[in-house]
Every structure is written in structure tokens, then in C-alpha cells.
Homo-oligomer: 358 residues x 2
């Protein structure tokens, strides 16, 4: 397996051995050099387009390499050059449900990041980690595999993220900006999103507004704050039972909604923290024979493609996914270049469709 050989002092490889050698040994620079009748340095220079090498030789070498499908071994090159153009993108999943990479929003943001990274000539290493072991996210950085790390969502582990940042891991987190945070976040304006959705419901005459989402997650907490602000502004005193603190998980959400009805909680509208959650609310409402939006209005969050096509089309808070990818990557590149982290909050927009009355 290992080809290290003290026994053969200088000779590169005896021809016999070479032929025997698994006929598909990977090509390397020395091979090109031999075939072109020059030294490896010359090949290296030629392939990097150096001016130092004779134009004619350069062309010959480049052609030869191309014709043989030779590409510089990137691992070796990175090692020598002490750099690399790869970024880790980490999608946490809920340890209980393992649920998350299927949420359309998460998938969409991965797509958007793929584009933004490609545009800058970076590659993307995609991985999933348990949301409760978020520190595992820095492993590829510690191993020197990537130049920086992007995490989708901060979950319950503000502290772990702060530790990573303190260790100077170039890091951008999609999520909520929080006081005393050391790491860089890029995210939508969650407070405003929650506020706009709730105010829209109140304007539509609703007064008993359920909130569906787990405020332990920073993003959700801020949306909840916006929700409270809107209620207060309207002089509405929220009841304790209006908060349904469910994770981003459809089955659980549905169960809680059904229980809420069973418990006799009266409500005329729901602010949900994702479109998928909103659609579960629609189902639960309809299961009781009520109608959306005439009996109960429902708002979603994210504006996934599905929100426009669903029955009813969802009124929802649009998150600028496409632009998000660009900003996240931009923020990461700045840190890789040694600049201090600078968080960004992006405006969100309420998209009114048919799941709410106006």
C-alpha cells in the first residue's frame, strides 16, 4: 500500500515496477516532466503560466498535461502553498428528529451559498452536525481542510459559537444578532418579521394570536419579541397559552395544535415560524371544521416556493435567500482576509397572500 522505499536510493521508479504498478497510478508532475523532457520545476512553472519559462516549452507542457488529463494535485499544492479555497457549510440537525436538511429554507440557502462560493472560486464542503454538538462544526477548520466555516442557524448554542470565534475560527452564522456576541451573524430582521406578521393579523381584525415556534432559538425569540410588540401596540394582553413552543418539526407542531384545540384555547390567528409549520396549522384548523382564513388567519415564515403554491397560498415573511448567500460569503471572506467580524441584518418583507384576511 505504502510506496515509501529506502531500498531504492535515487531512481524514480524502475520501468518494470512502473508498469506493474497498478496500471492506473495517478499521473504526477514528474511524469509530465519526463515525457516533456524537462524538469519538474519547469513543468510547475509552465502550468502556473510563469513568464520565466520559454513560451514554446510552456505551450508544449500545457498541451501535454491537458492531453493526459493531468491536473495538479491540489492536496500537495495546498500543503506547499499553505492555503486553500474551500469553505465548510454546516447544516445542523435537531438531535431528536434529525429533521433539518429537509426544510426547504435550509436547502435553498445551501443552493444560494453554492452559487456565491462558486462565483468567488471557492469550493464548498457540506456537512451536517448534531445541533447539540455545534462545536463539531469547526473540525474541518482545525484540520486545515477549509479556510472558514458557515453555519446555518445558531440553535441553542450561542456559547459554543462564541468559543469558536474566540479561537479565531473564521465563522459566519446565519441567524440572529445578539448582544455580546463575538461571532459574525448574517440574518433577516426577525423582530420586524414577527412584528409585521402580527400587525397584519391585528389589522385584519384578529385579537387572539397564537405564536408557533420555540423561543429558545434566538431567531425565534426575536420574532416572538416582534409579536409581543405588535400586540402591545394594539393594547392586547397575550395569554400564556398562546405560545406554542414547538421545534421546527411538523409532527410535533401538529400535535401541539390539536392539543391546544382540545384544551379549549380560543384563537383566531396563528403566527408560525416557518411555512411548513404554517401549513400544519392550516391542517389543524381545517380538521376542526373551521376555515382559513375566514375563521383563522395564518402567517408563515421564509416564503419558500411552496408558500406560493399551497392551499391556501400563504401570507408569509419573505427572507432574502439569494442575497443572503452573497452577504454570508462576503462576510466570511472579509474575516479570512483578517478583518474583524461585522454582522449584518437584512430587511424582510411581508408577502400577503390568501391565508389571512385583510
Amino acid at each position: 500500500m505504502n510506496r515509501a522505499k529506502r531500498a531504492e536510493p535515487t531512481a524514480l521508479q524502475s520501468p518494470a515496477r512502473q508498469a506493474a504498478d497498478k496500471d492506473r497510478r495517478r499521473l504526477q508532475m514528474a511524469d509530465i516532466a519526463r515525457l516533456a523532457g524537462v524538469s519538474v520545476s519547469t513543468v510547475s512553472r509552465a502550468l502556473s503560466g510563469s513568464e520565466l519559462v520559454n513560451a514554446e516549452t510552456r505551450v508544449r507542457v500545457v498541451e501535454l498535461a491537458r492531453s493526459l488529463n493531468y491536473t495538479i494535485n491540489q492536496g500537495a499544492q495546498n500543503l506547499r502553498l499553505q492555503k486553500n479555497r474551500t469553505v465548510a457549510v454546516v447544516v445542523p440537525y435537531d438531535s431528536a428528529s434529525r429533521q433539518h436538511i429537509s426544510d426547504p429554507f435550509f436547502l435553498a440557502i445551501v443552493g444560494s451559498l453554492a452559487d456565491a462560493l462558486t462565483d468567488r472560486g471557492y469550493e464548498m464542503l457540506l456537512s451536517r452536525v448534531d445541533a447539540d454538538k455545534l462545536d463539531a462544526a469547526s473540525a474541518p477548520y482545525d484540520a486545515g481542510r477549509v479556510a472558514g466555516v458557515i453555519i446555518i442557524g445558531q440553535w441553542r448554542h450561542h456559547d459554543l459559537l462564541n468559543e469558536m470565534a474566540a479561537r479565531h475560527v473564521p465563522l459566519v452564522v446565519w441567524g440572529a444578532e445578539m448582544p455580546q456576541q463575538l461571532y459574525c451573524t448574517v440574518g433577516g430582521d426577525n423582530r420586524d418579521g414577527g412584528y409585521q406578521a402580527t400587525r397584519h393579523l391585528i389589522k385584519g381584525g384578529r385579537r387572539r394570536v397564537l405564536f408557533l415556534g420555540d423561543p429558545q432559538l434566538p431567531e425565534v425569540r426575536q420574532r416572538h419579541q416582534g409579536y409581543l410588540d405588535a400586540l402591545k401596540e394594539a393594547g392586547i394582553q397575550p395569554e400564556r397559552q398562546w405560545l406554542l413552543d414547538v421545534p421546527f418539526e411538523e409532527a410535533t407542531a401538529r400535535r401541539r395544535l390539536d392539543e391546544t384545540y382540545r384544551d379549549g384555547v380560543v384563537f383566531d390567528s396563528v403566527v408560525a415560524c416557518s411555512d411548513l409549520l404554517a401549513l400544519q396549522a392550516v391542517r389543524a384548523v381545517r380538521a376542526t371544521g373551521r376555515c382559513v382564513p375566514s375563521d383563522v388567519s395564518v402567517t408563515g415564515y421564509d416564503d419558500a416556493p411552496l408558500a406560493a403554491w399551497s392551499d391556501p397560498p400563504l401570507t408569509t415573511v419573505h427572507q432574502p435567500v439569494g442575497e443572503a448567500g452573497k452577504l454570508i460569503v462576503e462576510a466570511l471572506m472579509a474575516q479570512i482576509d483578517g478583518q474583524p467580524p461585522r454582522s449584518r441584518t437584512m430587511p424582510v418583507k411581508l408577502v400577503v397572500r390568501k391565508s389571512t384576511v385583510t
Copy 2:
């Protein structure tokens, strides 16, 4: 930038220089060795859990490394060991529309692959390439960055894929199995999918069935064949205008549908090659004042989450995305282990919802 120094013969690094050295030089094995008072060999052995090293020393070294967040540099390790546990996943995009990574199906399969690779301890390098330059997909393999390549969809470039396989690139393509193909495919049974959808429409009394999708793509061609088979079985002679050869692109699809109406083509049902395409068909039908499914039945393909929630919920051909990831990865691992490519076709299932009459 470059730290290679002839001037300093053997000394690892003078302490002064070391301190000056950008205070955040990455930790390496030599540092751990120095701090533990042993040689690098011992550290290497300790970290790999070798029996050769004193149990006590081993524990000490491992603890030390952990406490300093040291991780073995994977690039260097790979170079030395001549292996790597990364796989490239390539999502082609249509050169015209750049459209593809947003299709829910593609995103879903990426998620499923992420899971399957993680389960086997592999990492995933995700990239997008122009569908017309599919040979670029092997670049990370040629550069020694990955152990194999997975491509989502074969597009118009059967030939390029065959060339890659001939070069012995470990490769699995999600798509249709074709005659005389050298590379390995894993895919749904497209002919059967097209057949089942069409037969279902005919059973519901429809006789004038539009086909929406571009048969230049192998997967679509096979679905089209199934469609033709079903028509033939029912003694229906398809008309030329029933074939709407549009790419997987919503705007184009909508336009073609509108034109079809304008041209006076009469039809009572549509077999679409994705759920998104099907929903465009629904819109086009409704735009003329007709109803789905009473006037026109529509079937989708893929059974994306959206299909269950849309208005109307789509009758669609379910593709086993979750299992697909597992099979694809399994097929790739077999090739990496030197086994010959073995293609697989997975059964598909028609899911009947409300976009068709029964």
C-alpha cells in the same frame, strides 16, 4: 508569506521567531511533541491509538491535543497516506437558465446524499457545473481531492460521462440506464413512471394527453416512452402537438402551455416531468377559465413536499429520494473498492391526489 528557509539549517524555529510568527500560527504535531516532551513519531502513534506507545504517554498526548484543539492536518495526512474520504457531488445547471439547484428534487437528493455519506464517514464536496460542460465534474477527482464523483442527472452528455468512466473515474450518475453505457447509473424506473401516470389519466377517461418535458434528456425520454406505451395500449394515436419539449424551467413551460392553447390544441390532461412543471400547467389551465381536474387532469413527477400541499394536491410519481442517496453512495463505494460499476433502477410509485379524476 512562504516560510521555507535554507538559512536555518536544522533548528525547527527559533523561539523569538516563533513568538513573532503571527501569534496564531496553526498548531502542528511538532508543537504537541515539544509540549509533551516526546518526538513527533510518538505523537503520531499516540493520536492514531497505536499499541506501540506506552499507555500512559498515549493518554497524556491525546489529552494535550484535545485541550489545545489540535487536529491532525488532513491535507498532509491524505498526502502521506495516499487516500482521502471525500466525495464530489455535482449538481449541473442549465447553461441558459442557471436554474437547477433550486428545484426541490435536486435539493432533496443532495440532502439525502449528505446523510448517506456522513453515515459512512465521508465528506461531501458540493459543486455546480454547467450542464454543457459536464466533463468539468471530474476536475476534483483529477486533482486528487476526492475519491469519487456523483452527478445528479445525465443531461445531454451521455458521451462525456462515458469518457469519464473509460478513464476509470469512480462515478455514479443519478439518471436513466441506457444501452451501451460504461458508467454507473442509479435512478427511478422512468419508463414505468411515465406509463403509470399516463395509464392513470386514461383510466380516468382522458384521451388527449399532453407530455411536458424535454425528451433529449434520457430520463425524460424514458418517461415519454412509457407515456407512448400507455397510449398505444389504449389504442390512442398521439398527435405531434402533444409533445411540449420544454426544459426543467418554469417560465418556459408556462409560455409553451399558453402557446399551445393559443394554437388551438385540444387536450384534457397533462403528464409533466416535475412537480414544478405540473403546477405551471395548473396555472395555465386555470388562466383559460378551465378547472383542474374536472376539465384537465394534471400529473407531476418527483413527489416533492410541495406536491402534497399545493392547490390542488398533485397526483404525482413518487421518487424514492431517501433510499436513492443510500444506493448511490453504495454504488460509488463499490467502485472505489475496485469493483465494476453496477447500475440500479428503483421502483417508483404513483401517488394519487386531487389533480386528476379517477
